[in-house]
């Protein structure tokens, strides 16, 4: 397996928080009679360690978003299992996993205010109002939107919406934060700045996170380790530096924008 060659991280010797074990997921294509199930992810295994930010990097159509959705419990597995700290959670329903998922376009509840959006997971967990308000204020400071709680989410810019979405995801201190191209809808400057901020916030809150992106610079900025995924399989796993130094195949080198001879 390709990932065996280059994984050298601080996590050696630690127990994995999340273990993905030979995931196979298919997706539906076409309408009516033409519809067919095609493999999106094939026999994929991956471990994520506590407090780690792991980027899943791959071209569009490589199955990286499907992988994230399958971990969240939003896609049915054709095969494979998922464990959290050694407990099998493969058949646990989405809302009982204690994860959070942030989409590319935030998916904020347009009919609720900024504060109500952030407090959503806390309300579900029946956190008392005073604690809730304190936590919302704290999170607004964390994502750089102090005092914006009463604003309508429709009045916010794209970058602000993503900050609110991040705060909403972090509110209930999820065991695992799943981020699906959270910066892709933003312009380049903002993306670079928010990328660094995102890493700082994740590290400060000791959040274990899986981060899907097609942008290798973004992956290198935010993540501790990067898993390169192509055609539903992990083709290389390592730190950003390892990846740049020794891409496993010419294809990966090309995808990373390195010249072919670097391999």
């Amino acid at each position: 397996m390709a990932q065996a060659s280059t994984s050298m991280t601080a996590s050696v010797g630690q127990n994995a928080a999340l273990s993905i074990d030979s995931f196979t997921v298919s997706y539906l294509r076409g309408v009516g009679r033409n519809e067919e199930r095609l493999p999106a992810i094939t026999d994929l295994s991956l471990d994520v360690f506590p407090g780690e930010v792991l980027a899943i990097l791959g071209p569009s159509g490589s199955g990286k978003s499907t992988l994230l959705r399958a971990i969240a419990g939003l896609e049915r597995l054709d095969a494979g299992s998922l464990t959290w700290n050694g407990h099998d959670i493969t058949s646990l329903v989405v809302h009982k996993r204690g994860f959070a998922l942030m989409f590319q376009d935030g998916q904020l509840f347009a009919h609720r205010s900024v504060a109500e959006n952030i407090a959503y997971a806390l309300r579900i967990r029946k956190v008392p109002k005073s604690d809730r308000d304190a936590r919302v204020a704290e999170l607004l400071v964390l994502v750089g939107l102090a005092g914006a709680g009463e604003r309508r989410v429709t009045e916010l810019s794209g970058g602000e919406q993503q900050r609110v979405a991040l705060a909403r995801s972090l509110a209930a201190s999820p065991k695992l934060l799943l981020l699906d191209e959270p910066l892709s809808s933003l312009d380049r400057q903002l993306r670079e700045r928010l990328g660094q901020e995102l890493r700082e916030i994740l590290k400060r809150t000791h959040t274990t996170a899986l981060f899907v992106t097609h942008d290798q610079h973004e992956a290198a900025t935010v993540a501790d380790r990067i898993a390169v995924i192509m055609d539903g399989r992990i083709v290389q796993l390592g730190t950003p530096a390892e990846l740049r130094a020794t891409p496993a195949t010419p294809e990966i080198a090309t995808f990373l924008g390195l010249s072919g001879d670097a391999a």
Binding site: R76, L77, G98, A172
Partner: protein
């Protein structure tokens, strides 16, 4: 290396396909969501319709299809079937031609008074059919404002009334699509050198076509099954399959012929619905991925100030709105005329001397304008039962009945409609479940086209034995009206639920919301306004429902449309005057309900 070693050993183990367990509550909710609407439709729609239809074929010694041949060899039946189809097709064509420029003006241009014009265009759509029938007769009768055209009792009169009703369907359906189209595609074509006409033909119209065809097919359905308006305007010479079914069942008790006609209508309706569904699906593929938020942005961007080139479309709009207002204004004006001695009578039949005397005694003094005496006499008469005791109860009592029944019908239609919409808006993984939902979706639209008369009469002949002996039960009328309103309710709520990005539900779910909470916090929060709008629409439709109600209402407990029809059927100028006044009252209540809906600014009302 630790992680990879671990993963290789694990992948050796094979795990069986993992299925996420659903909670019993979720399963119960899904069963209820599908079960309640299905059971409702089965008992109150399928059963009566089948009961009615079986009367046509089941004879003593088995099933007999001979009736078809015999009945279709009657010249009158053949003529009416042809007339129904021709009439509906022509009306759909006229509505489309008139509706397109209006849709452009009301949904692509930005000008003062646009909201008011949009409101005026949709008013006729919700007016009770009987009211429209009375209004057109008043307008076209020899003594009416357009009496000189001698259109009373002609095919043209029916056509005008059908177009009057349905032009809003085209305007709203096409307008809603048009509003959401990205103008950048048109700009791109212009930049590439296309003339405005070419842009329209090659870029705009092809994208509108699915909605145009969908609107036209709905208009066709409405016209092919038109009942109240044709009954009032058509007399014996003109009619539809629907009015003929009514005549055959109530006047001639020829159930076999009525049943054959019901089946004929069913075949036409299902054919058109299937066609519309196919066209609609093509349209929805083209629109895939457009969420409500994106649509709003596109709508705001696409609107512009009127230009000189918009003048013809503007003219069509203003003339049409004026023509739509004419029958309504005439109705109001005539309802205020004092009916004395038949001189100012708008009725086709002159009042008798005796009647005139009795009217004069009850009439208020009124004022004279241009030799015509105006007063509220007709309205004051609504407290009575009319000349020759045309009615069993006063008109105001009938209005009370109508309101109560309409509220009940609205409640039923909303419960069934919301449940059904929630279910249909989901895309299950299972292919067969998806196919089943498509069929369920289509079945909900059937009451739109199936003869209300068939439903009403079917109730009488099938729900008359235990355990469903409901014939004399007061719940039948609201149920029948709810059936008629149901397709409109579903069509108002469903597009909004379908427009909800499924990832928003997923976000809530991942954050820890159980399924019922996702339903409440996402679906129902977003659909709150459309549900209110649907309530208003259902209320308006129930208030005006005539086809099924006329079978089910008892003489001592009539609704307002039934009373109006009775009043124009019994001779007497005072009675006709009362019919006019009652029509104005009914129209006012209906329009008030719709005004509330319009204030909610839900785009999809009256659009399909």
């Amino acid at each position: 290396m630790a992680p990879s070693d671990e993963s290789t050993t694990k992948s050796a183990r094979t795990t069986p396909s993992a299925r996420i367990r659903r909670s019993p509550g979720t399963i119960i909710a899904m069963v209820l969501g599908v079960g309640v609407p299905s059971a409702f439709l089965a008992v109150f729609f399928l059963l009566p319709v089948l009961g009615m239809l079986s009367r046509g074929f089941i004879v003593q010694d088995g099933i007999d299809f001979g009736g078809f041949v015999e009945i279709f060899s009657r010249p009158r039946i053949l003529r009416l079937v042809g007339l129904t189809i021709g009439q509906a097709a022509l009306a759909a064509l006229i509505c489309t031609v008139v509706g397109l420029p209006i849709a452009h003006v009301l949904y692509r241009l930005n000008f003062r008074g646009r909201a008011l014009l949009r409101m005026l265009v949709v008013v006729p759509f919700v007016l009770p059919t009987v009211v429209v029938g009375v209004a057109f007769r008043t307008l076209l009768s020899v003594s009416g404002p357009l009496g000189a055209l001698h259109l009373d009792g002609t095919f043209t009169a029916i056509m005008l009334a059908l177009v009057f009703f349905n032009v809003a369907v085209v305007v709203r359906t096409v307008g809603n699509t048009w509003e959401g189209l990205d103008v950048k595609q048109e700009d791109a074509a212009r930049v590439l050198g296309a003339s405005p006409a070419r842009v329209w033909a090659t870029v705009t119209f092809p994208r509108l076509l699915p909605s145009v065809l969908a609107a036209a097919s709905v208009v066709f359905l409405f016209c092919a099954t038109a009942f109240g308006v044709v009954l009032v305007l058509g007399g014996v010479q003109f009619g539809t399959i629907e009015t003929e079914i009514y005549l055959l069942t109530t006047q001639f008790l020829d159930l076999r012929a009525a049943s054959v006609l019901s089946i004929t209508q069913l075949v036409i309706v299902v054919g058109v619905l299937l066609l519309a569904n196919r066209v609609g699906r093509a349209g929805s593929v083209a629109k895939a991925g457009t969420t409500i938020a994106e649509r709003r942005v596109a709508a705001a961007q696409s609107r512009r100030k009127p230009r000189r080139a918009d003048a013809p479309a503007m003219a069509v709009t203003l003339v049409t709105v004026a023509l739509l207002a004419l029958p309504i204004l005439t109705l109001i004006e005539r309802s205020l005329r004092t009916t004395v001695g038949g001189a100012a009578s708008t009725a086709a039949r002159p009042a008798t001397g005796l009647a005139a005397a009795s009217t004069a005694s009850t009439a208020s003094p009124g004022i004279d304008i241009g030799g015509i005496n105006y007063s509220f006499a007709n309205y004051l008469n609504l407290a009575g039962t009319g000349q020759r005791n045309a009615l069993v109860v006063p008109v105001w009592t009938a209005l009370g009945n109508s309101l109560t029944i309409a509220v009940q019908a609205t409640a039923i239609a909303l419960i069934i409609g919301v449940l059904a919409s929630l279910v249909i808006s989901r895309r299950p993984r299972n292919r067969f479940a998806r196919r089943a939902l498509d069929i369920f979706d289509g079945a909900l639209m059937l009451p739109l086209g199936i003869s209300a008369v068939t439903v009403g009469f079917g109730f009488l002949i099938t729900l008359n034995q235990p355990p469903l002996d409901l014939r004399s039960s007061p719940v039948l009328i609201p149920i029948a009206q709810a059936l008629v309103a149901l397709p409109l309710v579903v069509r108002t709520i469903l597009p909004v639920l379908r427009g909800v990005d499924s990832r928003m539900r997923e976000s809530a779910s991942v954050l820890g919301a159980p399924p019922w909470r996702v339903l409440r916090d996402v679906d129902l929060s977003i659909a709150a306004r459309p549900v209110l709008a649907a309530a208003g629409l259902a209320f308006a439709v129930a208030l005006g429902e005539f086809g099924a109600t006329t079978f089910l209402s008892r003489l001592d407990h009539p609704t307002l449309p039934v009373v109006i029809y009775r009043l124009i059927g019994v001779p007497g100028g005072e009675n006709f005057g009362m019919a006019l006044a009652a029509s104005v009252v009914l129209a006012a209540v209906t329009v008030a309900a719709m005004a509330v809906v319009e204030r909610l600014r839900v785009g999809s009302v009256g659009a399909f």
